[in-house]
Amino acid sequence: MALVTNLTFAWWNTSLAPSGATRSTPLDRTIACRVISNLITQVGADFIALGEMSEVDLEAIRFICQEFDFEIKSEITKSGRSQFDICYAYNKNKIAVVESKDIVDGVGSSILRIAKRIDIVTPGDDTIIHLLVSHWPSRLYCYKDHSDRHLYALRLRDQFTRLVEDYGPNPYVVMLGDYNDEPFDASLCDQLKASRDVDLVRKRKHLLYNPFWQYLAKRSEAHHGAGSYYYKDGKVTKWHTFDQLIFSQAFLTSKSWMYRHCHDLVHEIPELVELILNPKMRFDHLPVFGRVERISQNG
């Protein structure tokens, strides 16, 4: 079987089922199918992690995934008083899932849902890529700078440290999700150590690269949005960059998989932007993605 030459990872908070409890209409689910189809055909997504999903919504998108030969998996698992609301779909011709598990943090009687860890491989290659998919709580329930937001980041960082201990000094790790924090917030910057400085990350193994620093504002008049999440009651800004992908240093320095710099990592589907700006609709997030490429073994 031929080696896979590139992989595109995408994340979209669907808004279909906050905390896993469905509230979607048939129209919402049809729109979600179109967005997923668009991610596969226009972005070339191979792995799509979806947030705010329920089992009902998963069944509704199953057929569209099958149409593209994608496998869909539910990661809706009970955790404390609530549940993880994550599902994922992947191109089964390019990706095999080795294992998946919940990463949680107990604080007294509360459970913080840190991430879903999903380990994948590609055909003919033993390299494991570790995906850590997160959907951290909304600022309505866990306000900005709440100490728990630091704990979320610290424990996600601990998972990275653990991967270093278990898989060697430079593991391939992609963190993706809706952190409900901006790239510049202390949780992601100081605790997780997700840096804007690609050159510094190349030099320092402990740092992670966060390309979403580039998406803190409207990049040009041709763009429709100014981030990935639209909060209609925002006082200073309605747009936020809460949805991000963060890459370990291996993707910048290794001789196997390399991060590929792209121009638009927030996928602004014009019709979806319109729905997001429409206060009658539930959608409020744009999908985000990131791409890695295999380095040619022949130079």
């Binding site: 598990k101 949680v104 943090d105 107990g106 860890r117």
Partner: protein, 149 residues
């Protein structure tokens, strides 16, 4: 001149706090062990032991043998067994400061920031079907008294 006394005092205080945290953590595991011993007529003991990674016999190299990793695990043992065989319930890690401690199951990893969270994590651990099966098999290990019969 640098004032080292403040740093020294902070270090001593941190060491005391870490020791107190670890005492609390292991008191929770002892309590779990005591309760399960009571419920199993003394056939269960829960403890933390250091273990060595199992190698794949068909794929191992000499290097693998010399660099075998060790880890800590929460295990169940039958003290009344003729030949006690500890069975692993979960992998286990403790921070240098005590908390967070970390219970690692095949499908979930639970960090515990305090005593209550640890108690909940251990309750969850022993309530899983996988743990129930392991605890049953440990209790059913042939006991010394079985030999005497």
């Amino acid at each position: 001149m640098a004032n080292f006394i403040d740093s020294f005092n902070r270090g001593i205080q941190a060491a005391d706090q870490a020791r107190a945290n670890k005492e609390e953590i292991y008191s929770v595991i002892d309590e779990l062990s005591t309760q399960l011993a009571g419920a199993s007529d003394g056939k269960l003991k829960i403890e933390v032991v250091e273990k060595t990674e199992v190698l794949n016999r068909f794929a191992m190299t000499a290097n693998d043998l010399f660099s075998r990793k060790t880890y800590f695990a929460i295990v169940a043992t039958n003290p009344l067994s003729a030949s006690p065989r500890p069975e692993e319930l979960a992998r286990w890690r403790v921070a240098e400061t005590g908390y967070p401690c970390h219970v690692i199951l095949p499908d979930t990893e639970i960090y515990c920031e305090d005593k209550k969270a640890l108690e909940k994590a251990l309750s969850r651990l022993i309530a899983t079907p996988a743990a129930g099966k392991i605890l049953q098999s440990v209790m059913n290990q042939k006991s010394i008294t079985d030999d005497e019969d």
